[in-house]
Symmetry: C2
């Protein structure tokens, strides 16, 4: 290896940036160069914003959504129906549904899908917490809004089986979700149509 190109602190920053999705080592280097050129107008505010979020962000105690308080804004919004819970894999999926603006109930973030390969079982996925919520909140309907992937649908079937004893109505997104598609990549119209046309699971 040649000599270090940049000072060690800057090389360390490049290495950390390269761990972000979408940025490889070369694009991380270019991003850091842009930050260095805009030290006052971009780098300092970004560092401050990141530090603030890193210290204040936490998982909502009820639904698992990212929040800066113990409960997220959705869980504390009285205008949102408590009888409907939309189950999603990830916060990105909640954001996608909120962008579509069609669902006015509450969410439950699983935090992933069941996966034998990665040793992800029901306890890793906040499924026990979902069962507890349904019992304590008197939930009428659970909408399984999981990705149309093999793992997503395996997880949906597992949850449907686990929820059957509670008597809750179980539905799933139906029309408009393409085979193999991921919710976070769908346009708002497709998501809205899929939610409105949801069918019994």
């Amino acid at each position: 290896m040649p000599d270090a190109e940049a000072p060690p602190q800057i090389e360390a920053l490049i290495d950390l940036m390269a761990r972000l999705p979408g940025l490889g080592p070369r694009s991380a280097r270019r991003a850091v160069l842009t930050l260095l050129k805009k030290r006052g107008s971009l780098m300092a505010p970004l560092a401050t914003a990141m530090a603030q979020v890193a210290t204040t962000a936490r998982d909502c105690r009820t639904c698992g959504n990212i929040s800066t308080a113990d409960l997220c804004p959705i869980c504390t919004d009285d205008r949102r129906a408590t009888g409907e819970i939309c189950v999603v894999e990830d916060v990105a999926d909640l954001w996608a549904l909120e962008r579509a603006g069609v669902f006015r109930g509450r969410y439950h973030i699983l935090g992933g899908t069941l996966s034998a390969l990665d040793a992800v079982g029901p306890d890793e996925l906040r499924i026990p917490a979902l069962l507890a919520r349904i019992r304590s909140e008197g939930t009428r309907e659970v909408i399984l809004a999981l990705n149309a992937t093999v793992d997503g649908q395996t997880t949906a079937h597992y949850i449907a089986d686990a929820l059957t004893p509670t008597g809750v109505t179980i539905t799933s997104l139906a029309q408009g979700v393409p085979i193999g598609g991921e919710l976070d990549y769908l346009d708002d119209g497709t998501l809205s149509a899929a939610l409105r046309a949801r069918k019994s699971f």
Copy 2:
């Protein structure tokens, strides 16, 4: 517009991230989601590293290289020849040449190229500082290692004209730099060959 998807602090962080090259609004959102999932292992260290660099990084007083001290490590390295100055547009180009590891003199960072369109004149480019260095350091050779673009070559000709009265030898990278190519994207071997085969300008 629909309701905000994420808490305001997180939306603000996404907006700042989206200003980095290579990250659009969507990929910035995904990057922030990764940061949120890795709050302790990635987000907090990244915020700290960024804040540290933002407060300590500055331009080397002599050459314009990024540094954490008044003078950069290259300008204070006694093993590097003082008689040769390699003129580059940008810190990224210096990094590329250091990766190649073939040049053992000093650098001078212009900070861009002359551009009538962007109203960039010689005073914006640290060209007066280059002239002053050549006079005070007794420079023997100036290597013009500018990009093989129209602006880069226009700037090279301007500098060559400005340097003629000093009597310094002016060379430029020759073989290996493809037409329209940018230094930062070349492989080390090509850069090394171009530097070794430099010719009189």
